[in-house]
């Protein structure tokens, strides 16, 4: 249990100060739990706590009501200090029906607070959730602090005289009732959600109904003397600045718009809808006033090809997908490698193989990104570590792609995509500078003239007089770009394409070690496991262990100082949400006996799982 209770009884005799709280809202996918969680998060961010969130929703849009597959959850952790994960186990579980209880109870910490909507615990719902007896009555909840509230009834009673709406509409407001109750319990203001309701719901009756439900929940919690205590989490000491709460997908989209402005090249985003990447398409399609063109293609292949076509004309060619889509794009990515065009491919990884677990997170596309194409076909690979960091890595992806004239794969995942955290907004002068120049000079022009430093070829685009040239997927002679079947030339070009990617290493920052520069154990992560790994390593360091960590945001090429850092530690542990893909690359490249710690459950690492593994290795 992470939360520490300090009973210092300030101001309010019934208020208890906590450092950190983890709450999970769970209900039917039609119960509005994502909305409830998002509203709680935004309000919590506004009052100055550090926060980290993780929605967990089913792949089915509306699985049968009350069923186990239909359970939708939203977990958030907030704190008075810097936090990096949405929490291992919730301290509080709000379960709107028996199925939600069944799916989530095992995660609730021992002695945790459990709030249930008793109205939903009827025979039918119990049966759908697979309960033979009512868990509210049979004693299985003995280890928790249980609050049984007839939320549906209380909500109906509150709204009955206020609005004239059909019962079904009234019942739909019960998530706001629950939210209001939670706002009282955790001492949050109602205003941010009130404002949100006022702008979101245009129909006066619906607006009134939701506002009334929110206030009624708050008032009930305050007056009904069910909760003897409520809780306060003081604001966190966060770096000064202006903040907003942002998900990884939103940050990714904003990063690409920013790249377009910085590079002064138009952004062209081609994509086929796929979970969990679709929000990037939705978000980018709004920003047309930046000249952003979005194209919903007929399939993944077309999206990749359209991005290549756009890059050929001088746009920032971008496509986004998840693992199955990356598989479909492979051949065309090869074309982008061959034609040396600057495209960026976003892969928001999800559970695989095949259709797999569309809404769950995983990191098992690393080797696909590295090697999943025919021929010797290297690309650069970057991976953001946190939701907010998606912004800068999106900019970085295009900086590399345009400077080095090669495709870049950007590996996000479902956890980053849907998870949210406060983002300190960068000032305009903090943004990276990168200039992109198109070739216009016809003197001595050849399409594969190269920059001596980066080996990037000239970016000469249609519309430029006297630079007419042909490119394509056939092997070409260096410099001229003419089709060539010459054996020596082929070897030369294969090495050239590899060298181009290798030279990106001179253009990316060195790794920084978290902790002592040498020691007994080095933990290496990449992508979305940053929060859990860093928190776990920090905890071990506090316990006096000589453990350090590094986090890879650049996976191809690796940062130049990686090998040297590896040499300074006795042992290397690589936790990944796959069966050891980075570990495989590290062993192959650096001949280190890296130990893989694999988890493939569609869920992120828990801090506790990582500290246990570190202990095991450390003591070994």
């Amino acid at each position: 249990m992470e939360s520490v209770t300090i009973l210092n009884n300030v101001e309010d005799t019934n208020i208890e100060e906590l450092e950190t709280v983890t709450i999970r809202f769970a209900g039917d996918s039609g119960d509005g739990m994502q909305l409830t969680g998002t509203q709680f998060s935004n309000t919590t961010a506004v009052v100055g706590n550090d926060i980290s969130t993780l929605p967990d929703y089913p792949a089915e849009i509306r699985a049968p009501a009350g069923s186990l597959p239909g359970v939708s959850g939203f977990q958030l952790k907030f704190s008075n200090h810097d936090i990096r994960t949405p929490g291992d186990e919730p301290n509080v579980l709000v379960a709107m029906n028996p199925a939600a209880l069944k799916v989530n109870l095992a995660d609730l910490e021992h002695g945790g607070i459990l709030i249930v909507n008793t109205d939903a615990f009827n025979e039918n719902n119990l049966k759908k959730a697979g309960y033979e007896t009512n868990p509210l009555e049979d004693g299985v909840l003995g280890g928790y602090r249980v609050f049984k509230l007839p939320i549906t009834t209380l909500n109906r009673a509150a709204l009955r005289d206020t609005v004239k709406l059909p019962p079904k509409e009234i019942d739909r407001c019960k998530n706001f009732w629950a939210l209001g109750m939670m706002y009282w319990l955790y001492d949050r203001p109602l205003e941010p959600t009130q404002q949100w309701i006022e702008t979101k719901f245009k129909k006066p009756e619906i607006q009134t109904a939701n506002l009334t439900a929110l206030k009624a929940g708050f008032a009930y919690a305050e007056a009904a003397e069910i909760f003897t205590t409520h809780y306060r989490v003081r604001r966190a000491a966060i770096a000064p600045g202006k903040y907003r709460n942002i998900t990884g997908n939103e940050a990714t989209a904003l990063g690409f718009v920013t790249a377009s402005v910085l590079a002064k090249r138009p952004l062209f985003y081609a994509s086929y809808p796929i979970t969990p990447a679709s929000e990037i398409l939705h978000e980018l399609s709004i920003h047309k006033n930046f000249g952003v063109k979005t194209f919903q293609a007929e399939d993944e292949i077309a999206a990749m090809c359209a991005a290549i076509g756009a890059a050929f004309t001088g746009s920032l060619g971008l496509t986004g997908t998840s693992g199955p889509g990356l598989a479909l794009k492979s051949e065309a990515i090869g074309l982008a490698v061959m034609t040396e065009l600057p495209v960026v491919i976003v892969d928001v990884q999800r559970g695989g193989p095949s259709t797999g677990l569309p809404t769950k997170t995983e990191q098992a596309d690393l080797l696909q990104a590295m090697f999943g194409r025919n021929g010797e076909c290297p690309v650069a690979i970057v991976a953001p570590a946190t939701p907010a960091e998606c912004f800068q890595m999106a900019v970085e992806a295009f900086r590399i792609a345009t400077k080095h004239m090669l495709p870049v794969i950007y590996l996000s995942d479902g956890y980053l995509a849907n998870g949210a955290e406060p983002w300190r907004l960068p000032a305009m002068d903090e943004l990276p500078k990168f200039a992109v120049e198109l070739t216009t000079n016809a003197e001595g022009f050849h399409p594969y003239n190269r920059d001596p430093e980066t080996l990037a070829r000239a970016w000469a685009v249609p519309g430029t007089p006297k630079l007419e040239h042909r490119i394509g997927g056939l092997e070409k002679e260096d410099t001229t770009g003419n089709v060539s079947y010459d054996p020596e030339n082929h070897m030369h070009m294969v090495l050239m394409r590899a060298e181009k990617v290798a030279r990106v290493a001179y253009d990316i920052p060195d790794l920084e070690v978290f902790g002592e520069p040498e020691g007994r154990l080095l933990v290496i992560g990449w992508g979305s496991t940053y929060g859990a790994i860093t928190s776990a390593v920090e905890e071990m360091q506090h316990r006096g262990k000589l453990i350090s960590s590094i986090h890879l945001r650049y996976l191809n090429p690796f940062p130049s100082n990686l090998g040297e850092i590896l040499g300074r530690f006795d042992r290397v542990l690589v936790p990944e949400l796959n069966l050891g893909q980075l570990a495989l690359l590290l062993r192959a490249r650096y001949l280190v006996p890296a130990v893989s710690f694999a988890k493939v459950k569609g869920k992120p690492f828990k801090i506790r799982e990582l500290t246990a593994k570190m202990n095991e290795l450390y003591e070994d």
Binding site: V461, I471, G473, V483
Partner: protein
Amino acid sequence: MSANANIPTNGGSSPVPPVKLTRKDFVSDQEVRWCPGCGDYSILAQIQKVMPELGIKRENTVFVSGIGCSSRFPYYMNTYGFHSIHGRAPAIATGIKASNPELSVWVITGDGDALSIGGNHLIHTIRRNLDINIILFNNRIYGLTKGQYSPTSEFGKKTKSTPYGVIDYPLNPLSVALAAEATFVARSVDTFTSHLQMTVERAMHHKGVSFVEVYQNCNIFNDHAFEMFTERGVRDDAMIEIEHGKPLVFGKEHNRGVRMRSDMHLEVVELGNGVDESGLIVHNEKAPDSYLAYMLARMESPDYPVPIGVFRDVTKATYEDMLAGQIKTATEKMGPGDLEKLINSGDTWVIE
């Protein structure tokens, strides 16, 4: 600030180049590597001949192709060119045209490239009505892979991969294009040089997607594929050149016509003996619906004269114009993109 400022355009100058280009200006320095006697040579020559007449600059022209014999085409044009991957040329062309609508974009494809591996891209690119020109070289065979049947090969045909005959039914490329709501649909023949030139010119001048099927002889793997109706001796009786506003008359003596029976079937009639042109179908390529074009496209040898010409030529807003229109509207409404404002949007708070 708008990120849109640096799209290369033709500089706002007149679309007609100041110096009249000739066919030679469109010939690249690459040696043509099709088999001697291939129909592709003629198509290349006609397009190179027509290009100077079209009033587009070389630098504003892009030829995009997929994979197959026909797809070598861009290498031989002294314009911008992209020899891409199998079936994907329409998708690449979509990215090119949508990104820079100033460009004249041509897709060169074949029956396998467009209708088999690239079938999905073909129909969706057509339905979006980008202003691009798709020229499909139909030789009814896979040439580059040395003689397997294609989606347009005749039922029963014996090929390398079908020694006992083809057992899947062929597609009619024009039917596919019409079903995908193409706004310009035409057919010509590799050896009919002036007709082919005229067809390519009309395709170019059509604003919106143009789909042109060209019967192209593969003298190695499917020789004489179209001879039974294109041969000089039989052509007049076996083919019909359809023209807008004109009755469907054909035959050496202009003595035959096509009319519609009461059960909606087309029939071929002999003119004379009380049958005159007034009962014949009058071609209307501008018809808002595509029923007539579809019926004409279904006329096949030997029951009907094989039609060539423009089947359909109608106008609809293009994808790239509507995309630009949405950007214009959004910019008018929200103002040009302001990055600082964008980053600072949403619910923000300040930590002192």
